[in-house]
Symmetry: none
Subunit: 211 residues, 2 copies
DNA sequence: CTTGACACTGAACGATTGTTTAACTATACG
DNA sequence: CGTATAGTTAAACAATCGTTCAGTGTCAAG
């Protein structure tokens, strides 16, 4: 990660401060006013630099849609932020995944740092309370919380898949040249699941269990 | 706090999820698209209602400047603010436990909210990276992170105990009238451990594993 | 039957806001 | 000396976005 200039650190610090105070990102002209710029283009330049160096990400054309992708900890103390991610917990994930956001069925939330959870901050992780023991041979038990990331599965990934209108946890198997299938990791269960219409909602990254 | 209609709850839920997922509030037209409205005015009405009832606040004329004034669970009950705890991770816990804090051997830190970790904030929790497979029958594998609280063990608790100068994970068994002992939960291991000098460093509250 | 709330359509307006192009200064590098 | 980067000014543009006005339909309360 490239280093930031002094000015860029100031800008980034202001972004964070504004976000923490108002829970909203500032607009270009608010940043401009705060630093006394006479042109919004001064802001533009800095934000482009920050984005180029990977510190923030933005959605072009949309208002107030910065995101700070990196939590630069040590050194500059205007930061005390850790990479803690707030993740919704679903009991059951309803069909579809229309907008990357699912309104129904949220039963709680958890906070965990991205590294421990094995997820990337940018992606929209969600969590799932495991019901049933179809994955006990993979060390996932009834009542466990599984943290997932929505993305296409690779071979051997544990995935949350929509089967018969319900989300279940299975291992995704795809050998080359063959059709993929899902496998339950419990010796006493039917282990193979043919995949007709495969709706993968996410791949499991980590699991949390209360002992 | 006035009560919300079903539709208003849906809107509010979407606002929260969008904020948590994107760290940005949605625009009117994003809300419109998500709910399939054909007019942004439908959104206007709901947001006005939500603001009137005190659930959100906004800055007129500015883009994406909602704020939710309270956090809610599904029942519209304000959730007490979650407590994220910073926990040190030890590879091996050295002898003693002088101040509840052991600096040597710290291999990292993790952040997690107290409820998910099953711990109480007041106590000084610590985490331990599991080595070996002495507890696989309890669903704890090599490489797992176990979160512990220093306190006296009860029967059947999984504890971190100092054996032969090394910290290992065992289940603590104490039947009344008998001497306590430690039990490894792996069928292929010697399961019973006599306890000469029992040094319990903490009891396990939860486990986190990367899949 | 009327009133009022809730939920929504449709179109248009104007302000906010991100973006672009052009030009200027200063500093550092080779 | 030329070039590159950082930082800034200036004016204008176009898309996004919140807002308003006018109107439709439903349903429960009075």
């Amino acid at each position: 990660m490239d280093e930031l200039t002094l000015r860029q650190q100031e800008i980034l610090g202001y972004l964070q401060l504004h976000m923490r105070s108002y829970s909203t990102w500032p607009s270009f002209r608010e940043i401009q006013a705060h630093f006394g710029f006479r042109s919004t283009n001064a802001v533009m330049g800095h934000l482009r630099a920050l984005e180029k160096k990977g510190y923030i990400s933005r959605v072009p054309g949309q208002a107030r849609t910065f995101r700070i992708t990196m939590d630069f900890n040590e050194e500059n103390q205007p930061t005390d932020s850790v990479e803690v991610v707030d993740i919704p917990i679903y009991g059951t994930i309803a069909a579809g995944y229309p907008d990357g956001v699912e309104t129904g069925g949220e039963i709680g939330r958890l906070q965990i740092d991205a590294e421990t959870a094995g997820i990337r901050r940018a992606r929209r992780a969600f969590a799932l309370k495991v019901r049933g023991d179809s994955m006990i041979d993979a060390g996932i038990f009834d009542g466990d919380i599984v943290i997932l990331e929505p993305r296409p599965p690779n071979n051997e990934d544990i995935v949350a898949a929509l089967i018969d209108g319900e989300t279940t946890l299975k291992r995704f198997i795809q050998k080359r040249g063959k059709a993929p299938f899902l496998k339950a990791e419990n010796k006493s269960y039917p282990q193979l699941h043919p995949v007709a219409e495969l709706v993968i909602q996410g791949i499991a990254k980590s699991v949390v269990r209360n002992l």
